[in-house]
């Protein structure tokens, strides 16, 4: 226990130092409480949850590190987290990352799937507009993430950039450890096809994103 606390404390100290160097917003977070106590509350709060759903309550190693460091894992943790996440990315076997931008727009618009109010067959979407401006004609967009207007055009429709974008949507933490963006492919929330379609929405010269 003591060991974990010391690790968390030194991680926090290093994290604070790093926060000054990085532009990423750091949360002014206190880690004064013993994580074992927090886990006890968490277990009590989802006590009547089915075993299948309980898996979502437990944190994976990356979620744990990101939480413990206020999303600014220091030095060795940063490298370890990045390497762990990079290793999860599965690219399309034929190398083509560009799908259909029209279907990508549907994926970006849809905000359902995976909620306890949904059924297992409820269509899933990335709900990208919840956080990003994407196609300029859609005025109902959120601002938690950056605007993606002109995304492919700005990157000169570069093939390597498109591949990197596939990786970003598949697992945002393979690009930026502790990114706030969901790891859609890592969690198998979106299919490879859906992720390709979203990359199409961002990279196809015919997509309204680039018009």
């Amino acid at each position: 226990m003591t060991h974990i606390r010391v690790t968390a404390l030194s991680a926090l100290a290093a994290g604070m130092a790093l926060a000054a160097l990085l532009a990423a917003p750091a949360h002014a977070q206190q880690q004064a409480i013993d994580p074992v106590i927090v886990d006890r509350y968490v277990a009590a709060t989802w006590k009547s949850t089915s075993d299948e759903w309980k898996a979502r309550v437990a944190q994976d190693e990356t979620q744990r590190i990101c939480t413990a460091t206020g999303n600014n894992p220091p030095g060795a943790d940063f490298d370890k987290t990045l390497a762990r996440e990079v290793a999860t990315v599965v690219y399309p076997t034929d190398g083509n990352v560009l799908g259909d931008w029209k279907r990508g727009e549907q994926v970006a618009q849809r905000g359902t799937g995976g909620q306890f109010s949904d059924t297992p067959t409820t269509a899933r979407g990335g709900n990208c507009y919840a956080c990003h401006q994407i196609a300029p004609k859609e005025l109902s967009y959120g601002t938690l993430g950056p605007s993606l207007v002109g995304y492919g055009r700005d990157r000169k429709y570069d093939k390597d950039e498109a591949k990197k974008t596939f990786a970003k949507v598949f697992n945002a933490m393979a690009i930026v450890p502790c990114s706030q963006m969901p790891r859609f492919g890592y969690h198998k929330f979106l299919t490879e096809e859906q992720i390709k379609d979203v990359v199409g929405l961002l990279f196809d010269p015919e997509s309204p994103v680039n018009k």
Partner: protein, 283 residues
């Protein structure tokens, strides 16, 4: 039905239409350049409907008042001797200082947990049915929502001043803060993903910043419970947190569980000094 209630309902129907139309047109014309204009329009309509005679949430307040005095349970007793922290039966200001530590249970309890405790201890009421109806729906009224609306309303005009002094209150606060930042589930979200910065929004919906004490936290906590026009029901913060976890793709948190109370302690602390005006009316 008493005349005043009948009038409330009829005033409500006309205004509901106006509100829905207003909100629709406000969001339809919303775009970055006119965001301020939209916000002001929505604020104008909010002010217009911020009238007890037009807010159906006050029907819940009335029902809650009756439930508070209703004799039931094995002891055929009312809740009128229930101590919500200010002394038996004292309702004024109780909501402004909850959750808090109670000596008799040696637990930090929020309003819902305390009411369930009183139902069991004072009325010897089997709370199974009450908990099954924890959230109202079409044709299903909720005693808990009604009681919370009634009791919270008794703190109107007062400011949040929850004690964080007892070691268990301090633990609750620290756990609530940790849970606020705890990332999990298939979206990797924590509460802080959406609620840790000023001026952010999901689609067009503004997001209150709960990462620090201040106006957004005060205005949010001071306006729940609220009548949700989109759901045609009065909703409590307990329900709002349940809905947040739903959108985060987490499983539903247990009703009146300690984790929800811990989060509530954290949020009420951030809202310290904020004035209570409930039930309010929201989208």
């Amino acid at each position: 039905m008493p005349v005043d209630k009948w009038q409330r309902q009829n005033n409500w129907l006309g205004l509901a239409t106006a509100v829905v139309l207003a909100l629709c047109s406000a969001s339809a014309m919303a775009q970055p350049a006119v965001d301020d204009v939209s916000e002001k329009e929505i604020e104008r309509y909010r002010a217009m409907i911020n009238d007890p005679m037009a807010n159906p949430g006050y029907l819940n307040v009335d029902r809650g008042e009756q439930l508070w005095a209703l004799k039931r349970g094995a002891k055929n007793a009312s809740l009128e001797t229930c101590d919500l922290g200010e002394g038996p039966g004292k309702l004024e200001g109780a909501f402004a200082r909850l959750p808090r530590h109670f000596k008799d249970t040696d637990k930090v309890m929020d309003l819902e947990q305390r009411l369930l405790h009183c139902m069991t201890a004072i009325q010897e009421l089997d709370t199974k049915d009450v908990i099954a109806r924890r959230f109202s729906g079409p044709g299903r009224m909720s005693d808990m929502e009604d009681l919370v609306a009634f009791i919270a309303n008794k703190s109107n005009g007062l400011k949040f001043a929850m004690p964080v002094e007892h070691p268990k209150e301090k633990e609750m606060y620290a756990v609530g803060e940790a849970m606020f930042y705890r990332r999990s589930a298939i979206m990797d979200f924590s509460c802080a993903t959406c609620h840790a910065e000023e001026g952010k929004r999901i689609r067009l919906q503004g997001l209150p910043n709960f990462s620090k004490p201040g106006k957004p936290a005060q205005e949010t906590m001071g306006s729940w419970p609220t009548y949700r026009v989109s759901q045609s029901q009065l909703r409590t913060m307990q329900h709002r947190l349940w809905d947040c976890y739903r959108q985060m793709r987490m499983p539903a948190p247990d009703y009146a569980s300690d984790g929800v109370t811990a989060l509530t302690v954290f949020m009420v602390k951030q809202a310290e000094g904020g004035e209570i005006t409930v039930p309010s009316i929201k989208r």
